[in-house]
Symmetry: none
Subunit: 216 residues, 4 copies
DNA sequence: CATGAATGAGCTTTCATTCAT
DNA sequence: AATGAATGAAAGCTCATTCAT
């Protein structure tokens, strides 16, 4: 993860070459940032010449956009694959969060591209990432809706509210991820547990000793 | 808000010029990003020549650092001014959050510098903003501890727990602030309310219709 | 001499372009000095764009260092090629001096780079040229030692003495070279003759034991 | 020597201020070189504001020229003061050389300005230093002429020859000075002695008509 | 007598991008 | 399918020089 094949191998099929380039690009964009990443560096890391990068991916902007799309799809796929429909809503949420932490921890450059770089560099890219966020929000909203119905309540949360809550959840997750990494050895599942405690039970309940647990 | 005096006025005292330059820098860095912002643009926006910017602020890096510091101080000051010691912990938290959202909404470029740009562009700057964040997290941790004691419970939250929760809360707030600014039509008080609902009550309670309210 | 092909010829192999650039650089550095020479001027004189100069030679400092090295090697080679081992020491010395004056006269910009510019602009460059000078001084020291032995005298010049005399001789030669170039109308052979007259008649006496003393 | 008064003292007579500026300028030009020396640095070292430097000395070029003139005069004066007319020519030469070594060793920045910087930076300055050199050459020529007459020889050395010899002498002196400094503790008088050994024994023979020739 | 404020012009360096092969 | 050669444009930074006070 992170390291990219540098060994020169000539005449590879286009799809393979393209993947190598995107791997190199994600790594470079994630670590250096959009502006600081140079096409030279990306090409060298991918083990190809610069004109080839342009032949396949047209421009720095398109390359960055392609990276955002690829990483978005991968993240969404990881989260969606983890959520088992049919089980209780809170369990689904927990599974989704765990998958989110696992994927971002195992793919830090991709996550950096999505979370830090794409939102930092103006309209063309921010829109791209907003679309992905909307998809995640939709998943969360659905889960919350389902939970509300489970609770036998007609009054669902309004869309705006759900969007805000999803924002807060992702922000809390990001923050926890950074803190957990710095504090040493907190696993993705532990982080998901902590976050569920916070999000599902609320501080008010936590303070009177209640806890959320996956095996509740 | 954002707009800077463009009218050329010659021979101003250094302190005034410096403020103009920093205003222009915050605006430019916040909107374009650290790399994309050019010293030319900053100078022009400030209504001075580039050499003067260098004479007073030495380098792009120092200028950016100065912006981060100034905006950090302003944000901390705004939050601390809002928190009235002595009242109930949840009310204090709400007041702090409201001040936070108010300040970031009224100062979007400054907030972008702190939240988006400074953390995206490497160690010298990230450290600067991390220090400020730690100050805020410390305040929140204290509030959560106080709230736990108020709940007349001997069993306090462990230090680690409180710290983790504070991290999650601050992350959620940061994320919401960006979202509220972008969405345009969410007021600071609404955002603070949403977050208190989420954080204090927990999703579990929200879905069965309970709400947190400041006038509880 | 000095003039460089200005005719634009596109797509030349790297080695050729590099030589053109170095030619232009030596000319420009020699005439303007290190600081006053601009990369723009060098690139234009070489008939290429500035980025190409940087692509091949990395920086002004490295370019200057490369010039010093190339000119050093050329000068040493010219002198060494002229000295025929086996003939009398004074004839060897004369041949070396003549070659030295011929080379510097035919290559005034290169000589200016070595003698005037490199020594004037700080450690990185001065060290480079000092190494070359030491090589020449070593050769001359050896010659003087050999001459002393040829004089059938048991009392050789002490090592220190020979080294000091070599220093003085090389210094005198360097000084004369600059003067001969500036005066225009002094040929290399004339300069070599003048210096031999001055130096050898003195050395001749020293080697048979005579000394000058203030209290003579 | 070298260090310049930095203490601020207001309202000094013009002559004093000018001297302070020139001291600072010589030091800065000598150490940094003409181009690398900045008027800012000179003004600060002199303890005055930049406009004052311009008021008194008009421009960087004029300032540099003034430095060259002042240092030239000082060097010439030192040498001329040491040469006692009436004593033997070789003793006079020795006295002059000793004074030269003493002055340049005690005034390294001034000597650097004359020997390294002035000759390195184009016409306006090179001419200035050439004039000084001519004066020294004239002194040496006179001495040699006197010596030739002392030797009861009618045939004097031609002017060109004398100029070349003076060049060689100064070059040898410079070279020896550098070498002596690096080798540790060779005093000005010792250096002068070594050089006289080298030069005078040679000159002595030249003046009685001997010549070296390649076909000897 | 002395200076704080200010700038036009130029420098080194980098980068995204394109030919010609 | 792939690349070595080449560049226009712009960015960060510095400096000699001048006003207005």
């Amino acid at each position: 993860m992170g390291a990219v094949k540098g060994a020169k191998a000539k005449r590879m099929p286009r799809a393979v070459r393209e993947r190598q380039m995107m791997d190199a690009a994600v790594q470079t964009f994630g670590q250096r940032g959009y502006r600081a990443a140079s096409m030279d560096e990306i090409a060298e890391l991918a083990g190809v010449s610069k004109p080839l990068v342009y032949l396949y991916l047209n421009s720095k902007e398109e390359l960055f956009t392609a990276c955002i799309r690829r990483e978005s799809r991968a993240l969404i796929a990881a989260v969606e694959a983890a959520v088992e429909p049919g089980i209780a809503a809170d369990r689904q949420l927990w599974a989704g969060l765990a998958a989110f932490f696992t994927h971002t921890a195992g793919n830090p450059d991709g996550w950096a591209v999505l979370h830090r770089q794409a939102r930092t560099h103006g309209e063309p890219f921010a829109a791209e990432v907003a679309a992905m966020r909307d998809q995640i929000v939709a998943v969360v909203t659905t889960l919350i809706g389902a939970a509300a119905r489970e609770a036998h309540r007609d009054r669902e949360l309004a869309g705006q509210d759900a969007a805000g809550l999803a924002q807060a959840l992702v922000g809390a997750a990001e923050s926890l991820a950074g803190w957990a990494n710095d504090s040493g050895d907190v696993s993705a599942k532990e982080a998901a547990g902590t976050l569920m405690n916070f999000a599902w039970m609320g501080l008010g309940n936590l303070m009177v000793g209640e806890r959320w647990s996956p095996s509740r």
